[in-house]
């Protein structure tokens, strides 16, 4: 006997935007063979001014089909050999049939004879992560086509945030997914080692049949649960106005739900799917999600969806730290310290992607900094607003030990990787075209974050806050490009800001201003016989000392920004100078009764992306206490090490 249980959330089914690519699917997970058999009904609307003669699709899982896919080749080039796969460990997605449905005439056209694998990025004929089908008639602008696709997806061993480990399934990028048709062409890249994804917004109405023992979580609202009476249960998930759908299933997950009011009258249901060995982290995870929703809504616009599902990834599942619309994974270790930002850091970051990539749907293949950089900026802004500064923490034998003396400031985020990679690539680059993986990471995440933080301090926090919120909300459910961000920044700044942004987005120079020297020399007073008589210039006769002082500021990098220089004298007087930062150096000279005590470039630390902050300041006298203090503390480590390691001798 079949039992049905239906649950409806109090949500509106009114989409937030035009639904271009809508998926209705029935899929069955076979845990014996680790396969997903699916029937997919796709309605796709040509939302452009151009006719579409073909349809292009992603089959991302074919990147794991063999070792000659573009993904595998690029991974090996980067020194990563992601597989020691046995026969059953590989994954793939196979289209068994694809029909064009003509509802008007009650006909179906078999499109499979017109299927062809495409390699638009590298001509690797063995890569099958993109295919196309030719339509019998072009889909005209505004026309909607409906397709019925049967497919079989083989779940791989965990790789690239998807796969199965023991009985823990994390399923992402798993179905035939239509590309994006824009400007008369298909934007449908192959799956690369360092790329992510790009798709159109639509409605996902997915029924997943899995063993009844399993707990399942997915994108969107969990609308129906039907016990099929044969040991399986069908779960229906529904979400409109998103561009992806992922899910997880495991018999071990613990499910916690909480309705959260993140702003007056604004609610969302938080679902936390927790590993049983992480129950002590439940409150930390929950609070991290709440803080992420609360502050992101404040900074970037009220979170529009009715659900947010956070998954604590299973051990060895390799699914941690990843994002999908309304559904994301965190990551934590079972022992953690109060201020070592785990699981908060990654949870806030992955939720943040719900805004940048989720709501603001940039092309992750072509403009990776527009989601990774924005989200890295978002996660630190949220974290530092919600929590105390994290402490430096190191693990000894797996046990985290925090160092209370060492707080980690927000300005530290991203600067180290930028320092190592600043001259490798421009920030704006297709994801797979960076010099190497390290450069992709540093430019997409770190430099993007640093650029935004520098922009924020340059514009001023209030103006920047208005700008970023406007940009975010203006581009929800759309696909912005860099110029679109430029426009909003310039609008709020009241001037064309390409002179600022181009240097970071389309440049690979470093920003480094430095105080090169400060000098104060006593002005030589007159002494001796002059026309009017003898002038006694001996010290006892001098009324006041006078000094001629000079500060030399240098631009050591290629990036040119206007800067401030603070000069402080020993008598307490101060001068705040402005320099346009264009030429290689600038001197500031003074005459007065006191010597310079110190000079500081960028005293308010606006230029967070400055690669060398130590040279931003100079004092007349060096502080001897610091090197002595820290040498003596380091000495203890050395002396202890020497005594400790005499275990190897006498």
């Amino acid at each position: 006997m079949l039992l049905s249980y239906a649950t409806f959330l109090s949500s509106s089914d009114e989409p937030f935007c035009k639904q271009v690519a809508n998926y209705t699917m029935n899929v069955v997970l076979d845990t014996e063979g680790d396969t997903i058999t699916g029937e997919e009904f796709l309605t796709w609307t040509n939302d452009t001014e151009y006719p579409a003669e073909e349809l292009w699709f992603h089959l991302y899982w074919n990147a794991f089909k063999n070792n000659m896919s573009t993904y595998m080749i690029e991974s090996r080039r980067r020194g990563r050999n992601p597989t020691d796969f046995a026969m059953d460990d590989w994954g793939y997605c196979r289209v068994d049939s694809i029909f064009l449905i003509d509802e008007e005439n009650f006909e179906e056209f078999d499109l499979s004879p017109a299927m062809a694998f495409r390699q638009p990025d590298d001509d690797n004929v063995l890569d099958q992560t993109v295919f196309s089908v030719r339509l019998p008639r072009p889909a005209e602008p505004g026309q909607t086509v409906e397709l019925r696709i049967s497919f079989l997806a083989k779940v791989p061993r965990p790789i690239s945030r998807t796969g199965v480990y023991k009985d823990n399934y994390f399923i992402a990028q798993w179905f035939p997914k239509i590309g994006v048709f824009e400007d008369g062409k298909w934007n449908c890249h192959q799956f690369h080692s360092s790329s992510e994804f790009f798709a159109d917004y639509g409605t996902y109405d997915i029924k997943i049949t899995i063993p009844s023992s399993m707990v399942v979580g997915a994108t969107g609202e969990h609308r129906e649960i039907t016990d099929n009476g044969d040991g399986t249960t069908t779960h229906r998930f529904y979400q409109h106005s998103v561009h992806d759908f992922a899910w997880t299933a495991s018999p071990h997950l613990l499910e916690f739900k909480e309705d959260f009011e993140f702003a007056a009258g604004k609610m969302t249901e938080i679902t936390l799917l927790l590993q049983p060995y992480h129950t002590k982290l439940k409150d930390r995870y929950m609070n991290a999600v709440k803080n992420a929703i609360r502050y992101s809504s404040l900074f970037y616009g009220d979170y529009p969806y009715t659900t947010a599902t956070c998954v604590d990834p299973g051990y060895n599942s390799r699914s941690g730290g990843m994002e999908y619309p309304t559904f994301f994974t965190g990551g934590a270790y079972f022992i953690t310290r109060k201020r070592d930002d785990s699981p908060e850091g990654v949870t806030i970051h992955e939720f943040g992607h719900g805004y940048f990539y989720g709501l603001v749907g940039n092309n992750e293949f072509e403009n990776p900094w527009m989601d990774e950089g924005f989200t890295s900026f978002l996660d630190t802004e949220v974290y530092y607003a919600a929590y105390q500064n994290p402490l430096y923490t190191k693990r000894y034998f797996g046990i985290p030990v925090s160092f209370p003396e060492v707080e980690i400031p927000i300005e530290s985020d991203g600067i180290s990787s930028h320092r190592q990679t600043w001259n490798m690539d421009d920030m704006q680059r297709f994801a797979w075209k960076f010099m190497e993986g390290e450069s992709y990471g540093a430019n997409s995440y770190s430099k993007g974050e640093l650029t935004l933080r520098t922009l924020k301090r340059y514009m001023g926090p209030d103006l920047f806050a208005d700008m970023i919120k406007s940009y975010s909300q203006r581009w929800w459910f759309k696909h912005p490009k860099p110029k679109d961000f430029y426009e909003v920044v310039s609008e709020f700044a009241g001037q064309d800001m390409s002179w600022f942004l181009d240097q970071f987005v389309y440049g690979s120079g470093k920003l480094d201003y430095a105080i090169d020297r400060i000098t104060s020399e006593r002005i030589i007073q007159q002494e001796g016989w002059f026309g009017g008589g003898y002038i006694d210039g001996s010290p006892k006769n001098r009324e006041t000392e006078a000094y001629e002082s000079e500060v030399l500021v240098r631009r050591l990098g290629e990036v040119k920004l206007p800067i401030e220089v603070l000069v402080v004298f020993e008598d307490g007087s101060e001068f705040l100078e402005n320099w346009d930062g264009q030429y290689r150096w600038k001197k500031f000279t003074y005459a007065g009764p006191a010597r310079i005590a110190r000079a500081v470039v960028d005293p308010e630390f606006k230029l967070v992306i400055d690669i060398n902050r130590t040279n931003n300041s100079m004092t007349q006298k060096s502080n001897k206490t610091a090197p002595i203090k820290w040498t003596s503390r380091w000495l203890l480590w050395l002396q202890h090490a020497m005594e400790f390691f005499t275990v190897f001798g006498g």
Binding site: T614, T631, L636, Q639, H640, T646, V647
Partner: protein
């Protein structure tokens, strides 16, 4: 009971040779200063006349350290926030147990090896003083004893390194392989974590056991003037295994003393403010008392072990 008797006796004997402890401490400090000078210069150069110097005088400027770390070469890489307080001790423990000593910068590694050889030389002097039982420490007799036994102690040290090599490349590698296999198939990180702790404890126990055995080897050489290094080592193994309870009991009793002393140091140093020159000086004094104490405990171990050896023989 015999453990405790010799534990107390060893303490009294060590207490009577404070001048020797001071000599050993001065050697440790002087040797350390050889690397401390370039480290000081590096920090001084990096901090320069910058305001980072003022911030580092008052606390720990993470942003400055990030920059320093990103450009660090050689010895500079050893300067991390973990040198603060308990971190220094934990860093060294982890380096030892995880056999990460070869990850240290070459300068530190070479320096460390030289110090180990030097300490092997000094061990001869220490044991000679304890053997005589006169407790009238003189530099002349100390170094005479050191010289007299150095050749045999050196070869004993080389022999011990073979055992350490077996522990490192054999036992530890084997345990790591087991751990990797378990990690690859574990349901959660908990089992690998506890196994990792257990395996580290096994490695640590083995390292300390080998150290203890070769301590008795050295004691045997000094007390019996044994010319044969291999025979002395074999004899030491035999002695330990015949008196396992007593030898291990004494060793771990002193190990507990060291742990307690270390914890005390960590507590005390944590409350000393170091933003002024006076604070820095007080902290330095506290540090050096700690190092002096460690040296004292090492000598206490030697004297206790020698007394236990005599007692059981």
């Amino acid at each position: 009971m015999k453990v405790f008797i010799n534990f107390v006796k060893g303490f009294k004997i060590t207490g009577r040779v404070i001048r020797m402890l001071i000599l050993l401490f001065v050697i440790n400090l002087a040797f350390s200063m050889i690397l401390a000078v370039p480290m000081y210069r590096s920090l001084e150069e990096s901090l320069g006349n910058s305001l980072a110097g003022e911030r580092m005088a008052e606390g720990f400027d993470y942003l400055w350290w990030q920059e320093y770390r990103d450009d660090a070469r050689g010895l500079e890489k050893t300067f991390t926030p973990t040198i603060i307080g308990k971190g220094a001790i934990l860093d060294n423990m982890e380096s030892l147990i995880q056999m990460q000593v070869f990850d240290l910068p070459p300068a530190v590694l070479v320096f460390g090896i030289l110090y180990i050889i030097l300490h092997t030389f000094l061990a001869g002097g220490i044991l000679s003083v304890f053997r005589k039982g006169e407790f009238q420490f003189s530099m002349r007799s100390f170094f005479k004893g050191a010289g007299a036994h150095f050749f045999r102690f050196f070869w004993l040290m080389i022999l011990s390194w073979m055992f350490f090599l077996i522990i490192g490349t054999g036992v530890k590698s084997g345990l790591n392989s087991i751990l990797d296999g378990i990690r690859d198939t574990a349901f959660s990180e908990i089992t690998p974590f506890y196994l990792g702790i257990a395996f580290s404890a096994v490695v640590f126990f083995l390292i300390l056991f080998v150290q203890m055995v070769f301590d008795y080897g050295r004691i045997k050489i000094v007390l019996e003037d044994s010319p044969n290094v291999l025979a002395s080592a074999a004899g030491a193994f035999g002695f330990v295994f015949r008196n396992l309870g007593s030898t291990l009991g004494l060793f771990y009793l002193l190990f507990l003393v060291q742990i307690f002393f270390t914890l005390l140091y960590i507590l005390i140093q944590g409350v000393i403010p170091q933003s002024t020159f006076f604070g820095v000086a007080m902290a330095f004094l506290c540090q050096q008392i700690f190092v002096f104490g460690l040296i004292g405990i090492r000598c206490w171990l030697y004297s206790s072990q020698m007394e236990l050896y005599r007692y059981l023989k």
